[in-house]
Symmetry: C2
Subunit: 292 residues, 2 copies
């Protein structure tokens, strides 16, 4: 791998994450050129028109021409694509000696398993840049999306040190701080601090939509608190069905705890137990220590 140089970056999947990476890697001079692969023709044409990428290329060309390949598709597809790219590296021989592939998925354990015994495993770096919005598609891409957020690199000991350094440089360009973790811990942690938030927002949206027939009133009455709590319920099923499926065991455990906590609240409200309600809220307030 080259160092302190510029790279041809191939991005597979030009949605919010892939598109936003494309923007900043190019304008901050990490990439000399950004090649994009996008299976939705409308999205591909838009990405080119908006200027997210320099060229739309075929998947094969992307692997052939790129120094770094970022797999930015939903995790169910990434589980097929990452091993396939490593297979292609193998057939390319020396021509692929410097190439690195990385994914940006929100769940990691299944991906890790899918390549664990691959002879070229070390050319893959498992990464999870923890940034996003509730919007998706190339139109949602924006400069600065990653600035100041954390990026997790998983199982880094299974990747070549040079490959890890390359990805560290890439995320440094995106102004992210890097955290290291094994993929199994990653999935437990993200279940708690990301996936459950989405499920609670989905459930909240369903609750309000289900009961509140007079939509005008929801709109009028919705305060900032409601909007921020329900915001994630706008998130795309193409992304979230695979996440909830791949991280099934962890999510179920967190949901069970969540339902238990909600039931404790319900019991305290039902019994008019103000003492207990105060205890529960005081305890919940401790989130202040860890969230600014």
């Amino acid at each position: 791998m080259k160092s302190k140089e510029q790279y041809i970056v191939g991005i597979i999947g030009l949605g919010l994450i892939g598109g936003s990476m494309a923007i900043d890697l190019k304008r901050r001079n990490f990439a000399t050129k950004v090649l994009g692969v996008e299976s939705e023709p409308v999205n591909a044409a838009s990405a080119l028109k908006i200027g997210l990428v320099d060229e739309i290329v075929s998947y094969e060309d992307c692997v052939l021409r790129s120094d770094v390949i970022i797999v930015a598709v939903p995790v169910a597809a990434a589980v097929r694509i990452v091993p396939d790219i490593l297979d292609r590296f193998a057939t390319l021989g020396d021509a692929a000696r410097e190439k690195v592939v990385a994914d940006v998925c929100s769940t990691k354990e299944n991906l890790a398993k899918s390549v664990h015994y691959h002879p070229l495993r070390s050319r893959y770096v498992a990464t999870h840049p923890m940034a996003g919005t509730e919007y998706s598609g190339p139109w949602a891409a924006m400069p600065g999306l990653f600035d100041g957020h954390a990026c997790i690199i998983c199982d880094s000991q299974e990747s070549e040190p040079k490959a890890v350094r390359l990805m560290e440089a890439l995320y440094d360009t995106l102004n992210m701080r890097t955290i290291y973790m094994n993929s199994s811990n990653h999935d437990v942690h993200t279940a708690y601090v990301s996936h459950i938030s989405h499920v609670t927002s989905f459930a909240l949206a369903l609750t309000v939509l289900d009961k509140e027939k007079d939509e005008k009133h929801i709109f009028d009455l919705a305060s900032g608190g409601f909007s921020s709590t329900v915001r994630l319920a706008k998130s795309n099923p193409d992304m979230w069905v695979p996440i909830l499926s791949q991280n099934r065991e962890n999510i179920l455990r967190v949901m069970d705890t969540y339902i238990e906590k909600m039931s404790e609240f319900r019991k305290a409200v039902d019994e008019g137990d103000q003492e207990r309600l105060r205890e529960l809220i005081n305890e919940a307030n401790k989130i202040r220590r860890i969230i600014r």
Copy 2:
């Protein structure tokens, strides 16, 4: 009541809401003078020092000297204070003929009941300015807090038209749009679009705090999505214990629906039913129609 004039405004409770009203009513020339009543000596001193109010006065003096009295204390206290102020109006006779009292509480039905048969009921206006943050106390007060939000006036037919007009003018000064509703509908609606959001945030905070022993990791991994979903969990128990108690019946109904929706999600995740997960998320996405 005077019209197109300026008023002496008395505010009982100088927290986030009372304090923020004080700021804008004074600087936008609705109030010639703002008198504050605050039972916490530290908060009273701070409110005066920050300049939220012109004077800290006794409760009795506030009722005596103010044209408009805003009761901005937790609802459990408001239920005692509002009828007491109407009693004092009665003893003041003609001197109180022009006075109006309004509350700003998040639950209304019990308050409505507490004054329903009061001979001076019509001098009270039940209002709920739907704005706020997760912070409390005079330090949390800020200019412009209410701008662009909705204010609900409940049971307006039970108040003197002149009293309602005065409060409309006051909320117009705060740049709020006014909605009219009976107090029983108000409590149902706010259970859906405000109270349940707080409960889901509290439960989320408890879930994460309970399971996640390594707080450093919560902090590192917490993305914008988590922060916005859990933000309301910082909310003050002094405010929320009374709300959850006063709006018990409605909240229980909403919590039951919520737990049911959450359980449907859990079932779909547990059974690996991706079709059903997609349906649920697509349905939840419809919140886009009503929340920007």
